[in-house]
Subunit: 313 residues, 2 copies
């Protein structure tokens, strides 16, 4: 069994590569701190990106939403004067409406997600990090912004100062997450190439999660979301810069220090290996850009083999 921690697009791609290899032997623990309520609907963007990607229905151009999506709802909503800054596709709405109703009936987000995964034919287990609401707040020069307002409405244009996760003290890893991290045959934990601050940190910040991750004694391996000083997608590089950190795999490694046994970095960043190894983190250099399914699978294989070499004897 392999456990992956993932946020949005990059994380979903690597999770998909691992799912190609591992099928039901993969558990993906997904960030839910970017969840929000919009138009009365409970929306879980990272969770949906992972689900749609592993179901093979993700939109490859946008990185979010469903391939071949249509926008009749949004067009009519605009006509009726409703808010359109968050783009809800016609098919995508089925997920949100069904989830919202089931949550209101008292089902957990974990149970709702499991049901969606089953209907979409996903063999891997996709687990929301928590069944309690956690919401990323981006502290900016203009004051605090809810994450989706920062990310979607403001296009990440405001400089970030720090992040907080509202509700995190009351939240706990879900029972299914505790169970997955506690079960017997775990071989490695892979931190996917997702945004360290707003995708992975909320998972790590859950009370008790650090202990759960370390208690198993299995290697924790991260894949750098930064390649040659830039993020493949999203604001990770911009955030590193604004926070005064090194905009590189080294900066990411420093951020995760204490958690990682190994780090996978891109061939373009081979020159950073020594600095990262100096932190006591083993390094694997390999092409990490995932342009297609083959890339995903190949990177997944490399990560799993690398983690295998780091296993505690």
């Amino acid at each position: 069994m392999i456990i992956a921690l993932a946020g949005g697009v990059g994380g979903a791609k690597l999770a998909d590569g691992m799912a190609q290899i591992l099928g039901g032997d993969l558990t993906v623990i997904v960030n839910t701190a970017d969840d929000f309520e919009h138009l009365g609907l409970s929306i879980s963007p990272d969770l949906d990106t992972v689900v749609y990607t592993l179901a093979g229905i993700a939109n490859p151009e946008t990185g979010w939403g469903i391939a071949g999506e249509s926008w009749r709802f949004l067009e009519q909503l605009a006509r009726l004067g409703g808010p359109t800054w968050f783009r809800l596709g016609d098919r995508d709405l089925a997920t949100h409406i069904l989830r919202t109703e089931r949550l209101k009936r008292g089902e957990t987000l974990t149970a709702v997600t499991a049901s969606l995964c089953e209907r979409l034919g996903i063999a891997a287990r996709i687990l929301p990090m928590s069944d309690a609401p956690v919401r990323t707040i981006v502290e900016t020069a203009e004051g605090p912004l809810p994450f989706q307002e920062y990310f979607v409405a403001r296009h990440c244009a405001v400089a970030v100062k720090s992040f907080s996760f509202a509700g995190i003290e009351q939240a706990r890893p879900s029972a299914a997450v505790v169970d997955a991290l506690g079960t017997a045959p775990l071989q490695a934990i892979v931190v996917c190439p997702s945004n360290p601050f707003v995708s992975i940190d909320p998972i790590l910040a859950l009370p008790g999660m650090g202990e759960l991750l370390r208690a198993r004694g299995v290697p924790v391996v991260a894949v750098s979301p930064i390649i040659a000083g830039a993020a493949v997608k999203g604001p990770a590089a911009k955030m590193l810069r604004e926070l005064g950190l090194a905009v590189s795999a080294t900066g990411v490694a420093a951020h995760y220090r204490g958690l990682l046994k190994g780090m996978v970095i891109d061939t373009a960043d081979a020159g950073l290996a020594a600095d990262i190894e100096a932190m006591g983190i083993a390094v694997k250099v390999t092409p990490t850009l995932m342009r297609n399914a083959t890339d995903r699978r190949r990177l997944a294989e490399t990560c799993l083999a690398f983690a295998g070499t780091l296993a505690v004897k």
Copy 2:
């Protein structure tokens, strides 16, 4: 000013004919007892049929929903295992989602409807009969059924015994309805050719509504929804039969007796005029089937002229 009472398709068509003539001088009071909650959404089928019809976007084939509608949401909902017995179109969803959110924020159904009408360019005023929830319960041989379950899920196949309107004792005509019925230049009240039992009766059953309708002393004129012993659409004829009433314009006139000053019946039913007149109700015989916009306008003109002849001196 003319006030129309309307339910679904037939009522919406005549209201549209009157709106063509009267524009902003028409107020349509619409049944909301067929409203229901589905998938967490507040759905108002009769209200939406009237709004879509007057906006010129109604689906002429189905009688409900929006013309040229697409069904991506429903297809995906089916794939995810959600309920599809009530067909929600992609564009139609914009109405339900926006309405649900605004109601939750504390807006009245009247205010939400006014906003939708404004955005859709409707000059006439469309008023929900009440801002309080009223729900038609169909008493059947198999026990009580919520209206939409009887109407949509069961296709009206179960025999009806009677109807009740849950919440009607606590409900009141909305402030806008009271205001419209109380304002100065009212010339007539037209009961549209809607189902007497489940579209018009809930409006009439609102506490205080009977007094409001009679207090003005303006003629109340109904258009029979039954032509030659059959309903143009919907279960009105079937209900008359199951309730042991005459399946004819005469049966409808008897049902409305005490309220009506006049009744408009179809040319095919000219032979019934004497029976209806014997109830003290003036009769106008004219073609009442509305196949197109011209039919709607012509029937509206006839109704308004007929009502004019009945005005209290």
